[in-house]
């Protein structure tokens, strides 16, 4: 469950450029065993070899345009969550990656201007309710667009799988 209306976060930034594709995030050749834990040792390494070792729970990914482009790959969203990335902010996010984030209730925010707001390893504060993000080193601020209420509700429910289960129960498709 993620109540966006309470979502305030401070974290260290890992900064990436444009068009980071899902194969960088979740390389197919290490998906063989279907284990997210194994993927976690390789995520982003093609661009930042130090990322899998050095990433810490609570960090934030900041990226340029079209983050998560390429193959649909739910594992790409899951592995970043697994290594502790608490939020992704990008100039733009590829459609399926963004959709999957929403459906998994994983905070992925389209934040135009974010690339010029922060540098690698600076601290960023995200204040979703106030619609603001702030560089804690420089004090510079930028506004943060909000999702429409219908999407905020998917986050609030905890993602589409919760909605699936609730509706199955409601319509008598399963007895639990």
């Amino acid at each position: 469950m993620l109540r966006l209306n309470e979502f305030v976060l401070r974290g260290r930034v890992w900064k990436f450029g444009d068009s980071v594709d899902t194969n960088i995030i979740a390389p197919l050749h290490v998906m063989r065993k279907g284990e997210i834990a194994e993927l976690a040792q390789h995520t982003m390494a093609a661009l930042r070899p130090d990322f899998p070792e050095q990433v810490r729970p609570g960090d934030i990914v900041v990226a340029g345009a079209n983050f998560g482009c390429g193959s649909h790959r739910e594992e790409a969203n899951l592995v970043l969550e697994k290594v502790g990335i608490r939020a992704i902010l990008a100039e733009s996010v590829a459609r399926i990656f963004l959709r999957t984030s929403i459906n998994l209730a994983y905070p992925t925010l389209v934040a135009p201007g974010v690339s010029s707001l922060v540098e690698d390893h600076e601290e960023l504060e995200i204040d979703y309710p106030k619609g603001k993000m702030r560089n804690l080193q420089t004090g510079r601020e930028l506004s943060l667009p909000k999702y429409p209420p219908s999407v905020e509700q998917i986050f609030a429910a905890g993602g589409i799988l919760t909605l699936l289960k609730e509706r199955c129960v409601r319509e008598g498709l399963v007895q639990l």
Partner: protein, 428 residues
């Protein structure tokens, strides 16, 4: 106010039965769900949701198209296990259309079997579902969690996309399929997110001249431009294609003359020429002249982008009387068994094999790190969908993307080569 194709299709599918407009978030009823290689993972999502055993039912057993394609026969024990689960699911859920033990690319199979109809909204857990737009359908990729929801209830939430109109002007070259060059030209000029969250409508005289294969290439690659949908209008070619495959009813959808687009572009084929995307992004595009002469180790023709008869035919025409260059692996993988049969019947397989090509099973392996791996420093030119770093194994390998004629001509010389001279020679 006039409406775009996307607005019209989604107005029809809207659960609230109202007219919807770009920017609206709506619940929609889907017409079809394509479930492919990841079917077992979709079921796992339902288990994860807390539903014992997984999906309790399908909302419509005749509108879920299931197939164990992509990597057939299984190339790992994991894949074999997942295919086995898919087989059991198809039986348990009573799926009417299930294709097992049939290699191919799901999107080509969806079209081959007549499952894609104009005006329909079809989704699936694969990004290249945009291909269905070639048949005037709204196709788009989703992920396993919402595929699980869609499987049980036949419903999804969607944002009605803004639309981008791309008019393709000029004469088709005739001697080679130009669709790949067009999409690379667009990506190079406007960026690989030029259509982010949008629906593309391809139109114009050259779009109308294109046959279904070329339209499929452009619609398929919609996702490489960021698009949610990539439509062509339905015409006599669309209707002939669909009618050869199914008697099911459908309604085609065209835009209103005063439809509102967020952007309108024109592509002049004369300006397109031959284009190549350099590593490692789809929009790193240059005219062929700037990369001609680059040494290659591998040349690939295949995938949902360019693995159809017209792609393999032009390769055979270029290779006729010629040989694959020594040291080059020239790999051809038809996009489906239906395409494979067309190639066999036309004598293309024999002719290409005699010239030194290797044929691979239809499927997605040719486009990903499943088959035809590449080592550090190796260079490939490929008509497949993507050139991202590490897509074919080593992150230090280089993938160039080009149309099938360019790939075939490069296979002959061993360096990236403008195919036009060989095509002229072949036609004389």
């Amino acid at each position: 106010m006039g409406r775009t194709i996307a607005e019209k299709v989604l107005s029809k599918k809207c659960l609230e039965r109202r007219e919807v407009h770009a920017g609206d978030y709506v619940g929609v009823r889907i017409d079809g769900l394509m479930l492919n290689v990841t079917t077992s993972q979709v079921n796992e999502k339902a288990v994860e949701a807390g539903l014992p055993g997984g999906l309790p039912r399908l909302w419509d057993t005749e509108r879920v198209y299931m197939m164990t394609e992509h990597h057939q026969p299984p190339q790992s024990e994991l894949q074999a296990r997942r295919n086995k689960i898919t087989r059991e699911l198809a039986a348990r859920l009573g799926v009417k259309y299930f294709h097992d033990a049939e290699p191919g690319v799901c999107h080509q199979m969806m079209c081959d079997y007549g499952y894609v109809l104009p005006g329909e909204l079809i989704v699936g857990p694969d990004s290249h579902c945009t291909l269905y737009g070639a048949l005037n359908a709204a196709g788009t990729g989703i992920a396993e969690p919402d595929a699980a929801y869609a499987a049980v209830f036949g419903e999804l939430w969607l944002r009605v996309p803004d639309s981008l109109k791309v008019s393709i002007e000029g004469q088709l070259p005739g001697s080679y399929p130009v669709a790949k060059d067009v999409v690379l030209y667009l990506a190079g000029k406007y960026g690989d997110d030029m259509a982010q969250y949008m629906a593309i409508e391809y139109t114009g005289p050259a779009a109308r001249q294109m046959d279904m294969s070329s339209r499929m290439c452009l619609a398929d690659h919609g996702v490489e431009l960021g698009a949610k949908f990539a439509f062509f209008e339905a015409d006599e070619k669309t209707l002939a294609y669909v009618r050869q495959r199914t008697d099911n009813p459908f309604e085609t959808v065209g835009p209103d003359p005063d439809a509102r687009y967020s952007r309108e572009l024109t592509v002049d084929l004369e300006e397109v020429g031959i284009r190549v995307a350099k590593p490692h992004t789809f929009d790193n595009v240059v005219p062929i002249e700037q990369v001609a002469g680059k040494r290659i180790d591998q040349a690939l023709i295949g995938s949902c982008a360019n693995g159809r008869l017209e792609d393999i035919e032009v390769a055979a025409r270029i290779l006729r009387g010629r040989k694959v260059a020594k040291g080059v692996r020239f790999i051809v993988s038809p996009a489906s068994y239906a395409v494979y049969l067309q190639c066999l019947e036309a004598g293309l397989v024999e002719s290409l094999v005699r010239s030194g090509a290797q044929f691979l099973e239809p499927g997605c392996g040719v486009c990903t790190a499943r088959l035809a791996y590449m080592a550090d420093g190796e260079v490939s030119i490929s008509s497949t969908t993507r050139n991202y770093r590490g897509r074919k194994g080593s992150p230090k390998a280089e993938i160039y993307l080009a149309g099938p004629a360019t790939v075939a001509a490069s296979a002959v010389t061993g360096v990236i080569t403008d195919p036009r001279e060989m095509l002229n020679a072949a036609s004389q």
